[in-house]
Amino acid sequence: MAVLLIKNGYVYDPINGVDGERMDIAVKDGKIVEDVDEREARVIDASGMVVMPGGVDIHAHIAGAEVNAGRLLRPEDHVKDVEPRTAITRAGVGYSIPSTFTTGYRYTRMGYTTVMNPSMPPLEARHTHEELSDTPIIDKASYPLLGDSWFVLEFLSKDMIEECAAFVAWMMWATRGYAIKIVNPGGLETWGFGGNVRDLNDEVPHFGITPREIVRGLCKVNKLLNLPHTIHVHTNNLGVPGNCETTLKTLMCVEDLAEDGERAIHITHCQFSAFLGDDWATMESGAPLIARYMNRHSHATIDMGQVIFTDTTTMTADGPFQYGLHLLSGNKWINHDVETETSSGIVPFRYRRTSRVHATQWCIAQELALLIEDPWKIYLTTDHPNGGPFTSYPRIVSWLMSVKAREEELKRMNRRAVKRSVLPTIDREYSLYEIAVITRAGPARALGLENKGHLGVGADADIAVYPLNPEEVDPSRDYKLVRRAFSRAAYTIKSGEIVAKDGEIVKAPDGKTYWVDVKVPEDLWEAVKSEIAEVWEDYYTVRFSNYPLTDHYLKISSPITRQARM
């Protein structure tokens, strides 16, 4: 393994409180170490450059059944963006939904080294992991969709929290999953019959349970299982004007479940859940309300879900929402309901500057990031590819760092949307330190990834070096330089190896797949197992014994062991 010494860079390492100090980072055997012998080390001269931990993406759809269905649906997306093979890299295509290898390379070029794939239908987990093992370089993990699983609904409806926890623990193993993903709780089951739920207190037909009970129940399960991340929630009514209220109610419904300072919930791509208004004509930003709530509470985190004005492909497990989007846009539509568990939908979509709604959406995400005071509570995402491809992160960074950059955008946007937004009055500009928080340190901490997102001794040596001199460049003025720097890292180092240099891939090793191995009391599990095994064949079309994955599906399996609090 290589020994590296990254010298003289301006280091931004928020977890360790390092804010742009010039210092050296030593790497040995894939880890950050105190010091190395300079004569043995490969020295990287980072003077005049920014050094940060490798980027951590908390929510990007990069692999699995729905992503692949999106690829299948959109040959026209691929022809315009191709990656020819090189001696080191595999060929690929794709602008908004890149093929697996291309995905790995593009994240790497931007200095990102860990990506969370947020929606894995448990029944199709093999598919997700097969794709992830063909996604090189980056480390990754997936969140199984559990919010509408029949077993979960039934255990929760009978208040059998411990049993539910045992089942969820088994699911984490059976699917090699990392966190509990809840999408439109109750709505997906209802979508099986073409319906949806509209309120946290609506009852899910046939199950006698409400979305509120699902969210609260799984939140308790999450705690019992001592999972590294909180529940990861895509709210009810996503993409519907007026959903801001639902989002606030969802946040509130787990307030009492969080002990002091602890976190209980993550609301993902919050922008899509922060609309005020009664319909599209009156739709406006609810970001200030959500930001005010977030500023007063500490049990929740969110990610942005920024939209980019471009042609992209929307895909969520939220089947009814996607159908609505299809009706709204008239674009082609894929639906995929997964028995006993979940659903999903895919619709190509173009966000237009000239559209009042789309422009408002753009503003909402910016407002959330700028109005929430503590950057540790909000993380940078586009909900790739829903708001836009992940390759647009550098642009978002530049907007957050520069009022001028935002003004440039606002000038070209729908006038009415801009007029009604508070964004033009906000003069906050993110510092590089804060950018490091929302793009790596924050997500790593929220995910409970102890060795990611920082450069302290013992951390994984995942490092990004950006060609940007913070003493010479004023990000507020020269935002274009910032954008360029974050698009092409001068060096990306993954597990102590240089994998990209000046935006070119120089090495493509495999990345790890994290999953959570929770130990629950044996007898509890045995009891639950006999119960689920009994009805399994009536619920699923796949046999119980054929359902769980083997480790064969993970190139580098990296379990995180937890002891359940039972």
């Binding site: 649906l73 959109r74 040959p75 026209e76 022809v79």
Partner: protein, 274 residues
């Protein structure tokens, strides 16, 4: 006017992709430089001069350039891609994707043309003396964008899906056409002088198709609107009479079919509905 002649050095056995054969990429280059242009022969990267004898005189702007191709070009694809001006004359048959995304200038083919002739073209003229295969002026998979402008004239027959996803421009087929002429059409005009194999105008939302020859039946998703004596195509009158249908109603379309009454007496039962 400068003419450059290209003749294949041998008969190609695998596909040759040569989008560089266009007045635009030849303009301002010496013959030697033209010979250095890159083409693909199957999976091998080649230089144009390795595949073709290149002769003639060059010029600075595409407008002044005429490219003459002779010999068997059936395997040569994407000739004239995205050309904006000048001329290409093909003395024989042309391979797939001739003149795709073309914006201006003219292409003339003495023989036949393979599928995707002038697909997604925006301007200029293509004339084929022989037959053309499928997707004349069509789209590529999933794109939903076909021809948007320009003119394609085929003296012989054409295959399936003529003018697929067409949005503008004019296609004239002097012979017969396969099924699904004008499928998904949004705009523009197609004139077919021969017969149609059927399902004409399927899923069309706009535009106009004129059929002089026979057709077995009109899709049930069209409704008869009128019987007209004549119609205008590209400013010229075409004598009818024509049954005029509107559709495709399953796509809420308002495309128009002009179907010759004379060639299709079996459609006369529609008259009671007018």
């Amino acid at each position: 006017m400068a003419t450059i002649t290209l003749t294949p050095k041998y008969s190609f056995t695998v596909p040759v992709y040569a989008p560089c054969i266009s007045p635009d990429s030849f303009a301002g280059k010496t013959l030697k430089e033209i010979g250095e242009l890159e083409v693909w022969e199957g999976n091998r990267r080649k230089k144009l001069k390795q595949l073709f004898d290149i002769k003639g005189k060059t010029a600075d702007t595409p407008e002044e350039i005429t490219i003459k191709l002779s010999g068997n070009l059936w395997k040569v694809r994407r000739i004239g891609e995205e050309m904006t001006a000048g001329k290409i004359l093909i003395d024989g048959d042309a391979g797939l994707h001739l003149g795709v995304k073309m914006r201006g200038g003219t292409i003339t083919v003495k023989g036949n043309a393979d599928s995707w002739l002038g697909s997604q073209m925006r301007g200029g003229t293509i004339e084929v003396m022989g037959n053309a295969k499928d997707y004349v002026g069509g789209a590529y998979r999933g794109s939903g964008v076909g021809m948007r402008g320009g003119t394609i004239i085929v003296h012989g027959n054409a295959g399936y899906d003529v003018g697929e996803w067409m949005r503008g421009g004019f296609i004239k087929i002097m012979g017969n056409v396969g099924a699904y002429t004008g499928v998904h059409m949004q705009g523009g005009t197609i004139l077919v002088q021969g017969d149609s194999e059927g399902r004409i105008g399927a899923l069309m939302k706009g535009g106009k198709i004129v059929l002089m020859g026979k057709i077995d039946s009109i899709l049930p998703s069209f409704t008869i609107q009128d019987l007209k004596k004549r119609t205008k195509v590209e400013g010229e009158a075409v004598e009818g009479p024509f049954y005029v249908f509107i559709g495709d109603l399953t796509e809420d379309g308002s495309g128009k079919l002009f179907i010759s009454k004379k060639s299709n007496p079996h459609l006369s039962f529609y008259e009671r509905l007018i």
